[in-house]
Every structure is written in structure tokens, then in C-alpha cells.
């Protein structure tokens, strides 16, 4: 097993499994946050957040999620360093656009942008709800925290730009994960590519709509 994980293919497999796990998290996160669109002053959303905060399964998954993120990042760093070592002298001219999509060649850059966003995002909400007693004491709700954070147009802009990074990262990552796992099939690969394409547009779009609609007062 250790040998497998140290091999190039083993690292790819770990990259894709952690990636797909993070994608499954996006689905849950997006679904629960969409409760704000009920536009009921955050009642449904706060109830959902309350459930997530006290459910032991969710609390355990939160730890697994952090492990997943760290593994995904550490593997990416190891792979990137190895890949750079594999070509010590670069080409004077390389026309990458002729044979591949820019976002498939920029996964490291897009991932770094997402990580920077993630740190800010965790500071805004995870830190406040888990590491301070602002919400447990009833002084503030998570929904109230959202309204407050998204008053700032710069933060709204940052969130929206981060969703573009996420969208392009997913556009390559979603189908790439299946290819790494050895799933390349004449019948099913086009289906996976189509699901990946729409997932990469719809999920970041829903996320981006949250700060936008709060900023413009559509959600109160």
C-alpha cells in the first residue's frame, strides 16, 4: 500500500479520491446554504446550521473534510515539485494552447486561489461559529453573520471571483478524477463530462448568488 501511494498512479488516485470527496462536500454545503433563498429572515438556514453544528456524524465528517483538504493540497505540492523537476530546462517557445485548455494546465494556480479564498472564508464563518461563542451564546446567528459580512462590496467581489476559480478548477478536475480512477468509456465518459460541465457552472453560480443577493438586499 505504501508503495502504491508513492507511485505516480497512486498519487493520482489519491488526488482524485480526495477531489471527489471535496466535490461531495460542495453539494452538501451548497444545498444547505441555499436555504437562505427561502428568504424567511434566515429561519430555515439557521435551523440547518444548528443541526449541522450538533450532529455527531457531521462533526466527524468536518474532521475528515479537513484531512481531505490537507491531503489534496499536500499531494498537489508533491506532484507539482516532481513535475517541475522532470523538466529542468524549459522550452523557449511552448504553444500549450494548441493542444490543451488553459485551465487544465493551471490547476495549481486555480487551487492556490481557492485556498486563499478558503482561508478568508473560514475566518468569516467557521472561525466565528466554531471557535467563538458568538453564535452558541445566542448573541448572533450564522445568518446574521452572513448579512454583516456581505455588506462589504470588496468581500462580495472576492467571493464571486473565487467562484470563477472554483468553476474552472472543477471544469477540469471533475472529469479528470474519473480518468485517473481508470474510468474512460465510450458510453459513460461523455456523460461524466456533461455532468462535470454543468456541475462546474451551476454550483459556483449558486454560491456566487448568495453574497450578491445579500449585498443587493434581495435576501434579508
Amino acid at each position: 500500500m505504501a508503495n502504491f501511494l508513492q507511485s505516480s498512479i497512486g498519487k493520482k488516485v489519491l488526488m482524485s479520491i480526495t477531489g471527489l470527496f471535496l466535490i461531495s462536500f460542495l453539494v452538501v454545503h451548497c444545498f444547505l446554504n441555499s436555504f437562505i433563498f427561502f428568504n424567511d429572515g434566515g429561519v430555515m438556514f439557521n435551523e440547518g446550521a444548528e443541526f449541522m453544528a450538533h450532529n455527531p456524524i457531521i462533526r466527524t465528517m468536518e474532521i475528515v473534510l479537513f484531512i481531505g483538504i490537507i491531503l489534496h493540497i499536500v499531494q498537489a505540492l508533491i506532484l507539482t515539485l516532481q513535475n517541475q523537476k522532470a523538466r529542468p530546462i524549459k522550452y523557449a517557445v511552448q504553444n500549450g494552447a494548441a493542444n490543451s485548455k488553459w485551465y487544465s494546465r493551471s490547476m495549481g494556480l486555480l487551487g492556490t486561489l481557492i485556498l486563499m479564498f478558503l482561508i478568508i472564508h473560514l475566518k468569516h464563518f467557521w472561525y466565528v461559529s466554531r471557535l467563538t461563542d458568538e453564535i452558541t451564546s445566542g448573541e448572533e446567528t450564522l445568518f446574521g453573520e452572513m448579512i454583516e459580512v456581505f455588506e462589504n462590496p470588496m468581500i462580495v467581489l472576492l467571493y464571486v471571483l473565487a467562484m470563477f476559480s472554483l468553476g474552472y478548477h472543477l471544469l477540469h478536475g471533475f472529469q479528470s478524477a474519473f480518468q485517473s480512477l481508470g474510468l474512460n468509456h465510450k458510453k459513460y465518459s461523455p456523460l461524466i463530462a456533461a455532468i462535470g460541465f454543468w456541475f462546474s457552472i451551476i454550483v459556483p453560480f449558486i454560491f456566487a448568488m448568495m453574497p450578491i443577493s445579500i449585498y443587493f438586499g434581495l435576501i434579508k
Partner: protein, 251 residues
């Protein structure tokens, strides 16, 4: 000078040997026929250099008909030049315009060290093949072919994988210098056929391990190799290799 002939500026990588640093050197060639192959154009340049008493440009070439895989040249940022599905010897000067500047570099990968100028050492591929790119050959008479029926689709897939000429364009093109398309083709051509079953698991394990040991990079599924491969080897083969490798690890 016949009509349509062209004058070109070439920027070609010159490097005395593997130890010394190289650099791009500019050359002018005149009256190049659009019907010449790219290699014939380099031949013309080399004659010019030899007549002047300069050292000619070293480059690999052998069959000059697209099947030996020797003519490794990275032309204007692409393996084997601007056209798809061909090697450098099959690239004709009609793909360029009068007055063009053409940059020619060797394959760039730590696992393909430059020997001289545009020639690189691709023996890393040979060492990968030696680890499992073969089948056990039984002695005695061949049995009746009808005893081992092979579905046409499998036979075709194996044949398509076997079309790999080991030119290294996949490594040269890949932003990570990954050799996965090459190794995948060599594993696939046997994994799909009954003759390849005896060493199926050890082949996948040993060839992938050797690929890693040679210092090739890791695949990130950009798909560039598939586009630049002169023989159209498909990414399906990489998926198959991944399956072969992890299934072999489980057993």
C-alpha cells in the same frame, strides 16, 4: 528560383554535449521549396554550414516516412511542428510562409538528456520496455487460431495501442514531462490480448515502477499528449493502465 520558394530565419538549439550549456542560434536559409520535408530543409542548412567549414547540426532521423519515431524536434512550441498526426519528417515546408521565423528545440525532459544539439537520449523508454514490454513465447507449433477467439473491438484497441512508435512526443509535449501515454500504450497492447495475460500484473507493476524511477513527471490529464501523438494513441490507454496498475497492486 521557382515561385513559392521561401526564405526563412531558423533559431536552432545548439549544444556541444550533455555537459555544456546550449543556446538558440539564428540561421538564414534561402530558396526553400514548399515541397521539401522539414528534415530536408535542415539538410540544406547543414550543407551550407559544412561548406562554410562550420559544424553541422546534429539531429535524429532514420526512416523519413513516419514510422521509426526518431525525428524528435520541438518546432515553434509543438512536438513535430504545427500539424497533428505526423512526425517531423512528414512535415512539409508548405506549412510555413516566406519570411517566417522557426524555433527548433530538442525534447525537454530530465529523463531525455540532450546528447548533442537536437538529439536526445531516449534509452529511458528502452529500460521501461525491458521491464515488461514483451510476452512469453511458447515453443512448438502455433495452435489453431479458432481456439482463441478475440473480439474485433479488443483486437482493434490492441492494434491501435501497438501503433506507438516510442518517439517521445507525449513526454516532450506534456507540461509535466509525463511518459504515461507511452507506457499506457505498451501495457495496453498486451493487456487486451490473450497472449499478454501471463505477465499481465507484473508487467503493469514493473513498467510503471520503472517509469517513476526514470524521473518522468505525473499525468494531470490535460490531454496534450493525445493531440500531439503522431499515431493518435488515445487517453483511454492511460485509464486502462491506471486500472491495470491498481488492480495489480490489490492482488
Amino acid at each position: 528560383m521557382s515561385t513559392g520558394n521561401m526564405n526563412l530565419t531558423l533559431k536552432i538549439w545548439r549544444q556541444k554535449n550533455g555537459k555544456e550549456a546550449g543556446n538558440l542560434v539564428s540561421y538564414q536559409v534561402k530558396d526553400i521549396s514548399p515541397d521539401m520535408s522539414f528534415l530536408e530543409m535542415i539538410d540544406v542548412l547543414n550543407e551550407q554550414l559544412i561548406n562554410k567549414g562550420d559544424e553541422s547540426i546534429a539531429f535524429d532521423h532514420d526512416c523519413r516516412e513516419g514510422i521509426c519515431g526518431m525525428c524528435s524536434m520541438f518546432i515553434n512550441g509543438r512536438a513535430h511542428g504545427p500539424k497533428e498526426g505526423i512526425t517531423t519528417c512528414q512535415l512539409h515546408m508548405r506549412s510555413f510562409k516566406d519570411g517566417d521565423t522557426i524555433v527548433v528545440e530538442p525534447w525537454r525532459a530530465a529523463s531525455f538528456p540532450v546528447i548533442k544539439d537536437l538529439t536526445v537520449d531516449r534509452s529511458a523508454f528502452d529500460r521501461i520496455i525491458a521491464k515488461g514490454g514483451y510476452i512469453s513465447v511458447n515453443t512448438g507449433n502455433a495452435q489453431d487460431a479458432n481456439n482463441i477467439p478475440i473480439p474485433k473491438t479488443e483486437a482493434d484497441a490492441a492494434f491501435n495501442a501497438a501503433a506507438c512508435i516510442g518517439c517521445g512526443a507525449c513526454v516532450a509535449t506534456c507540461k509535466n514531462s509525463s511518459a504515461m501515454l507511452f507506457v499506457a500504450a505498451k501495457i495496453s497492447q498486451f493487456a487486451l490480448l490473450p497472449q499478454g495475460q501471463v505477465e499481465r500484473e507484473t508487467r503493469a507493476l514493473n513498467m510503471v515502477n520503472q517509469m517513476d524511477e526514470e524521473g518522468f513527471g505525473n499525468c494531470t490529464n490535460t490531454g496534450a499528449c493525445e493531440v500531439e501523438c503522431p499515431k493518435g494513441i488515445s487517453l483511454e490507454n492511460i485509464a486502462r493502465m491506471n486500472r491495470e496498475f491498481y488492480l495489480a497492486n490489490i492482488k
